[in-house]
């Protein structure tokens, strides 16, 4: 079988696709291993539910998040072949996504702030189950 060629004069460069499927399977095992580690950490959180401090839970969740980003990197870079493309194309796709860093920080902080506001205003919401001290409610009036 002869390798494919694009009859397209606009494209002067073809990534080398002559390699075997070894890399694909390697990435499959990497993704599987990362998923198994994530699941192990998920079970760890489940098994230790209520026994861990907030900092330990948060740290574990952040580690799971970092492993997820690693999976995303392998999928995009190898499976979607973005790693083989021209650098400028990579940059036009990846750079706008950096906005997410700020979106996540800003919006999650907002959510946290709403929670704090609600918790000092008595049981004004039906799903608020955390007891609020009388003093906090009084001082707010």
């Amino acid at each position: 079988m002869s390798a494919q060629h694009y009859e397209n004069p606009e494209i002067t460069f073809q990534p080398d696709h002559s390699g075997g499927t070894k890399k694909i399977w390697k990435i499959f095992w990497v993704l599987s291993a990362l998923t198994i580690v994530e699941l192990a950490l998920g079970y760890f959180l489940y098994a230790k539910d209520g026994q861990l401090g907030n900092a330990a839970v948060l740290t574990t969740k952040i580690v799971i998040g970092i492993l997820t980003l690693a999976k995303a990197y392998y999928i995009v870079s190898v499976f979607m072949h973005l790693g083989d493309e021209v650098r400028n194309l990579i940059m036009t796709i990846v750079v706008p996504l950096v906005l997410f860093v700020w979106f996540i920080i800003a919006f999650l902080a907002d959510g946290e702030s709403w929670k704090n506001l609600r918790n000092t205003r008595g049981k004004s919401r039906t799903y608020q189950t955390e007891e609020v001290s009388k003093g906090a409610v009084e001082s707010h009036k």
Partner: protein, 293 residues
């Protein structure tokens, strides 16, 4: 190839040369996927914001702890792991189809496209089961009016709040109507028709005694937004999977008919592959946000 004579009728990227040395279609697929990533990102960040803004979000290990044919066994993370591996594996078969396309191996492309389509269909089947399980679930929860009721998980109902203490439950049972008491008693013995009839003929006090002495797990209701976000985001993702499967079927048929062989390249398989991998990519984040943390 730079010196190749330019055939007439070529659709130019204006300027006569691709700025990124890839075809117009592939670049536009990338930009579409980038915009889709922002859509999913906005949904997930909105979900995160609301989740951070309430005290007791539904615990995923309690909500998603069942497995088909496993009855009431407590298996947190098990079913969603299966779904994740199905999608990872179908991603691998897709990239293998793209690889076969680069080698101009028609039979290989066909084989791996079929496997990818099967993987996508299996994932959709899993999701259909999970949705059905939640939408038809029976959980005893305390309503705002102080009575107990049997609730499923829907966009309007979330029975996944904090657990009720025994005394809270007994108090609520006193206020609960006969009809609801029968419904609650019936969740205790699933499928036994005789027991159902028997429950209806019992008095309220007998039902209350039966329920109070059972191992029933009654809860407060949880934040109402849970169902909307869960069904909205997994549904939007599931719709992407569904359209991906349809696109893959079309690509399989076109391969089978030899369209790509005539064309001299399998670039359409690559573009369908980009979409399919994106669906897997989004699932990685849905898996993180809804099930793992």
């Amino acid at each position: 190839m730079g010196s190749t004579a330019i055939p007439t009728g070529t659709k130019w990227w204006s300027g006569g040369k691709s700025p990124f040395n890839v075809s117009y279609g592939k670049v536009m697929m990338w930009y579409f996927l980038m915009s889709d990533a922002f859509t999913f990102g906005a949904f997930l960040i909105s979900y995160g914001t609301i989740r951070f803004s309430v005290n007791n979000w539904a615990d995923p290990n309690k909500v998603f702890n069942s497995f088909p044919f496993a009855g009431h066994a407590n298996l947190p993370l098990a079913f969603v792991s299966l779904m994740t591996f199905i999608l990872i594996f179908s991603s691998v078969t897709m990239v293998l189809a793209v690889h076969e396309g680069h080698q101009m191996n028609k039979k290989g492309v066909e084989k791996y496209m079929i496997l990818t389509i099967i993987g996508g269909a299996a994932f959709l089947g899993c999701q259909a089961w999970e949705w059905t399980h939640l939408l038809t679930g029976e959980h005893v929860a305390l309503l705002n009016d102080g009575t107990l009721s049997v609730l499923p998980t829907t966009v309007k109902m979330n029975p996944w709040g904090e657990a009720l203490s025994h005394s809270e439950m007994v108090n609520a049972l006193q206020k609960t109507s006969h009809e609801q008491l029968v419904a609650i008693a019936n969740t205790l013995h699933h499928g036994a028709e005789n027991a159902h009839h028997a429950a209806a003929s019992l008095t309220n006090q007998e039902l209350i005694n039966q329920i109070a002495s059972s191992e029933i797990h009654a809860t407060h209701t949880g934040p109402i937004a849970f169902g909307g976000y869960f069904f909205g985001i997994t549904g939007f993702h599931g719709f992407h999977v569904l359209s991906g499967v349809v696109i893959n079927i079309i690509m399989y048929i076109k391969t089978k008919l030899g369209h790509f062989e005539q064309r001299g390249h399998y670039e359409m398989i690559e573009k369908a592959g980009l979409y399919w991998h994106f669906v897997d990519l989004v699932w990685v984040f849905v898996f993180l946000c809804f099930y793992l943390v």
